[in-house]
């Protein structure tokens, strides 16, 4: 009784004090969401896509290591995209194929085909915050962007290059995310991501991702040729170089099937 009274009065007090503040926060959240929705909407309808990806990993001493991956993606309405990654380098993982059905909420479905074992294995794990192939990108960073994965807060407008950017904070919904938030810079002319800054679980600056050399495909879809991720805590970095972007190549559900994963080329 006493306890209930106390918490009730605390709640009242909080409401009184916080109302104008919350109104502002609501407006910021609304605007952040709107911007992100627009960004997502402008990139819809690409159907399917293929590209070659070259990863250049660097440690703090500048020593480099290379990974090569071919990527195929299929746009799925009302759910996360399906993607198939085929590893070409290092040579000892050549032919390894990774199939993933991403979902806006909850764990993704993931299968891996290991040619040396000649078996398809389903990976059951909530983890997606670890480094992808030892790089500074996590699986989380590379998965498709879905509105439901974050809550939003618009911060401000800021000049970025020749353009002006919306600066929006995104808070991951998944509790197994490696981040407390990421701050993204979205340009106002084309709603493209120009920069993302990641904050770790203790809200300390962790990584910065920058997008370079955007190209437009099919007069609509913008893709960066180069993505640079720098880890500020370890001074390691990874460059992602994209080549041979192809859209609407006629891929279908049957190309993203765990039973046909063995035959993925």
């Amino acid at each position: 009784m006493n306890l209930a009274m106390t918490s009730l009065s605390t709640l009242m007090a909080t409401l009184l004090v916080a109302t104008p503040l919350m109104a502002q926060t609501d407006a910021q959240a609304e605007k952040g969401l709107t911007i992100s929705k627009e960004s997502k909407a402008r990139d819809e309808g690409w159907g399917d896509m293929q590209a070659d990806m070259l990863m250049v990993l660097r440690n703090s001493q500048g020593e480099e290591s290379i990974r090569e991956i071919r990527l195929k993606s299929l746009e799925v309405d009302n759910d996360g995209d399906k993607s198939l990654s085929i590893f070409d380098k290092p040579l000892d993982v050549k032919g390894t194929a990774f199939l993933s059905f991403s979902h806006p909420v909850g764990a993704d479905d993931q299968w891996l085909y290991l040619p040396a074992l000649k078996r398809v294995k389903r990976i059951a794990s909530r983890n997606k915050s670890g480094p992808f192939m030892g790089s500074e990108f996590s699986y989380e960073d590379l998965a498709s962007f879905e509105i439901e994965k974050y809550t939003y807060k618009y911060i401000k407008d800021e000049a970025c290059g020749d353009d002006t950017c919306f600066v929006v904070e995104q808070y991951p919904v998944d509790k197994y995310s490696g981040y407390t938030r990421r701050v993204v810079w979205i340009d106002q002319s084309e709603y493209r991501l120009q920069k993302a800054v990641f904050y770790d679980r203790k809200d300390a600056l962790l990584k910065t991702l920058t997008y370079h050399d955007y190209q437009q495909y099919l007069d609509k879809y913008w893709r960066a040729d180069l993505m640079k991720m720098v880890n500020h805590q370890t001074n390691k970095s990874t460059d992602l170089k994209w080549n041979n972007y192809q859209f609407k190549t006629g891929l279908s559900d049957s190309d993203f099937n765990k039973n046909t994963l063995k035959r993925a080329r």
């Binding site: 040396a116 074992l117 192939m133």
Partner: protein, 774 residues
């Protein structure tokens, strides 16, 4: 001319005490203002110079892999079993809060251990305890079996009986502002600890790890500053009042001490010197050394006043007589401390430079501010008839009459102690740098008793080509080495990637135990690792074991606390193993433990040069001051013997010599010389000016300086004995051995030097006489 100059200095001080006092205080305040720049650098790495090969090796290894500075929360159950739902929930929440520690980039615990299991064609990679809500229904015995059978965990993260565990937080300090980063981490660590302790009365929590050790360096020094320095002041005040029976003299001395310390520390601040565990002992040392100058001036002054001189005249006489000896002893002491510049360890160079400047500041102040203050303070001395027999006369009689027994027996004692010098064992165990009253030491000892010690070695094996760590040949060599290392008697734990690969191979074959072995092909291993790495969460990746190119891997061995020598031997055995069994791979071994293991020897070798140079300089100075090459050489013996005897005696006290003690010989050299200077100069004075024979000259030397030597030695021994009470063993050992050496020096100067002089000079005098007679 020179004499004229120095007389002008103290005449001015005696005639214009107020001006001199104000002016010197002004200069002191200006110097002391540098104190605002003084910050404490609390990092074990400060003990190593940038050129130190072990530091360089370790740092380059840390650049290739990841850093390994850590905070270890050592958790134990009072009931003896951690594997209950409540306790595991507590460890789970501790693991979660540990992520909030600033600069943390990895947290390892039994709850977030990435457990892999196979279910048909599924590979499940999950925290061992993912959700605390599931714990009440979980199979505790099974969880315990998994944790205590996993080679990655047992003896490192969890004790074999499941009663003690650690939550290990790896932090990566940016090093941008080291003075603020460490306290930032520690305040969060304490917050996490306090919350855990109050929420879990059935669990015990202790703090260990490199970060906690670094913090303890600062804490110990602060504790020392708060307890030892006041204790020193009390000692000085009491012994001066007791021995010299003067309030004003004591007051003036205390002022000199305070101003000397303030100016010394302030100048260090202006010079950009960091405070460290070692330099934190500077105030205590300067305090001790500054007292001696004042005691000499006061003793002579009182002697004169007792004989009816006015205060001003007495002071004038005292300054005239003492100026030379005080100047000379200050210079030799400074040279001794400056020899520490040869040390391989930067804090000891700073220590040497700071004390050397402190000694010179004390000299300047004791011939300016000190007499000025004495002029201003009231001072009365009862006139007293001299002639009553001093106890030191008895000592002189004893030494003279028993000289034929004393010389050989003292020589036997010296040689006897010398024989034990090599028996000392070289050891720098950074855990034992702190005595058992220090919480970090207690926690680390507890961790060592139940899990593993803080002695680690990181072994990097380079396979030579990109991704080549997956080669079966390489993996088999690594496995063989890991097994060999596990069998070494010192070993507590070996963290090796081959265990993980073997476990994955088993998982990929439906958890069939017979597949708990290395895969046959490079492709299999590479693909397992790819699969595994994709399933790991943030902060629990393999980057601490593999380089980006997967061309080399790192094995971490954890060992019980072993001596530096044993560590160096183990390091050699590791290299030998690779020479014999896998010479095709490049291997590097490095770790903080190894850095400390090598520093003692390196420092002793480098200090030998410093000591030699200091010895040459000091002996030359003595030769000039005594105006005799012969006595310069004779002085070598009583100057060198005390340090050597001290180290011999040390074998019976502790027997372990390390970084701290390697500087003692150089440091004490400058101090023990003082006694020899005073004794020899009086002896020579009696011979040359008063034409006394060696026996009478010895008696004169005892009568004139015996008492002052006795008092200053006592003050010095007390001072360094106070330092010996430090909970920081580096300073405590340094203090104790210095006190011992100084005390031995007095014994040598009283019991060995006089008989030696009487023997040597008897021969030469006879020769002179016979020459004259012929």
């Amino acid at each position: 001319m020179e004499i004229f100059m120095r007389e002008r200095i103290y005449h001015f001080a005696l005639n214009h005490p107020i001006i001199v006092s104000l002016f010197s205080l002004l200069l002191i305040v200006a110097a002391a203002a540098g104190g605002k720049n003084l910050v404490f650098k609390s990092d074990y790495r400060v003990f190593f110079s940038e050129e130190n090969p072990q530091l360089t090796a370790f740092e380059s290894m840390q650049k290739v892999y990841s850093k390994s500075d850590n905070v270890a929360f050592v958790v134990s159950a009072k009931s003896g079993d951690l594997f209950t739902p409540e306790h595991l929930a507590a460890i789970h929440s501790l693991t979660e809060s540990a992520w909030q520690i600033p600069y943390s980039n990895r947290v390892d615990s039994i709850t977030n251990y990435q457990h892999t299991v196979a279910e048909e064609d599924d590979l499940i990679v999950e925290d061992l305890v993912l959700e605390t809500e599931d714990l009440p229904n979980a199979d505790m015995a099974k969880l315990k079996a998994v944790a205590t059978k996993e080679p990655l965990l047992v003896n490192k993260i969890v004790s074999p009986d499941g009663s003690v565990t650690i939550v290990n937080v790896t932090v990566q300090l940016p090093g941008v502002n080291p003075v603020e980063e460490l306290p930032e981490i520690m305040s969060k660590v304490y917050e996490v600890r306090d919350a855990f302790v109050s929420a879990n009365p059935d669990l015990e929590l202790r703090l260990s790890g490199m970060v906690v050790m670094n913090n303890t360096f600062a804490q110990s020094s602060q504790n020392d500053a708060m307890t030892l320095i006041p204790l020193m002041f009390a000692m000085v005040v009491l012994s001066m009042i007791f021995l010299l029976k003067t309030i004003s003299g004591t007051l003036a001395t205390v002022v000199i001490i305070i101003t000397t310390i303030a100016a010394t520390m302030g100048l260090a601040g202006w010079g950009g010197i960091f405070l460290t565990g070692a330099t934190a002992s500077v105030p205590t040392m300067v305090l001790t050394l500054a007292v001696a100058d004042c005691v000499h001036i006061l003793t002579t002054c009182f002697y004169e006043m007792r004989h009816g001189a006015t205060k001003k005249n007495a002071l004038e006489t005292s300054l005239r007589i003492n100026f030379g000896p005080i100047f000379l002893t200050s210079i030799t002491t400074a040279i001794g401390f400056l020899s520490m510049n040869f040390s391989d360890s930067p804090p000891f160079r700073d220590l040497g430079n700071m004390v050397a400047s402190g000694v010179m500041i004390a000299f300047v102040l004791s011939i300016t501010l000190f007499p000025a203050l004495l002029m201003l303070l009231p001072m009365k001395v009862k006139q007293r008839e001299e002639g009553h027999s001093d106890k030191l006369d008895y000592l002189a009689d004893f030494v003279i009459s028993k000289r034929k027994v004393l010389l050989p027996s003292m020589a036997a004692v010296i040689i006897g102690l010398l024989l034990f010098v090599p028996q000392n064992e070289l050891n720098d165990d950074f855990v034992k740098y702190f005595d058992t009253s220090v919480p970090f030491r207690q926690a680390t000892d507890y961790m060592q008793d139940n899990l593993s010690g803080m002695t680690t070695m990181e072994i990097s094996i380079d396979a030579g080509a990109s991704s080549a760590i997956n080669e079966p040949e390489f993996l088999h060599a690594t496995e063989a080495f890991s097994e060999w290392l596990r069998q070494q008697p010192e070993t507590d734990h070996v963290n090796t990637l081959t265990d993980t690969i073997k476990r994955l191979n088993k998982n990929m074959h439906g958890d069939d135990e017979s597949y708990y072995r290395l895969p046959e092909s490079r492709e299999l291993s590479a693909q397992y690792l790819l699969l595994y790495e994709m399933s790991l969460p943030y902060g629990l990746d393999l980057n601490n074991q593999l380089n980006v190119d997967k061309s080399s891997l790192r094995i971490v061995g954890t060992f019980e606390n072993i001596t530096s020598n044993d560590q160096i031997l183990l390091e050699e055995r590791i290299y030998d193993w690779f020479d014999e069994n896998a010479p095709q791979y490049q291997v590097h071994v490095a770790s903080p433990s190894l850095m400390f293991a090598h520093i003692g020897k390196r420092n002793i070798e480098s200090m030998l040069w410093g000591i030699t140079l200091a010895l040459i300089l000091i002996s030359a100075l003595l030769g000039v001051a005594l105006k005799s090459v012969r006595y310069g050489f004779i002085s070598l013996l009583p100057n060198l013997a005390p340090a050597a005897m001290g180290f011999g005696l040390w074998y019976f006290i502790d027997g372990q010599v390390g970084l701290a003690l390697s500087v003692v010989a150089g440091m004490t050299l400058g101090i023990v010389v003082d006694d020899t200077v005073h004794f020899l100069s009086k002896y020579r004075y009696a011979q040359t000016h008063r034409g006394k024979d060696p026996v009478e000259a010895v008696r004169y030397a005892f009568a004139s300086v015996g008492r002052a030597l006795w008092i200053t030695t006592l003050v010095l021994v007390f001072g360094f004995m106070v330092l010996a009470q430090s909970s920081f063993k580096v300073n405590a050992d340094m203090g104790l051995l210095t006190a011992i050496t100084i005390f031995i020096a007095l014994i040598v100067d009283f019991l060995f030097l006089p008989p030696l002089l009487m023997l040597l000079d008897k021969g030469s005098r006879n020769k002179q006489n016979s020459g004259a007679n012929a």
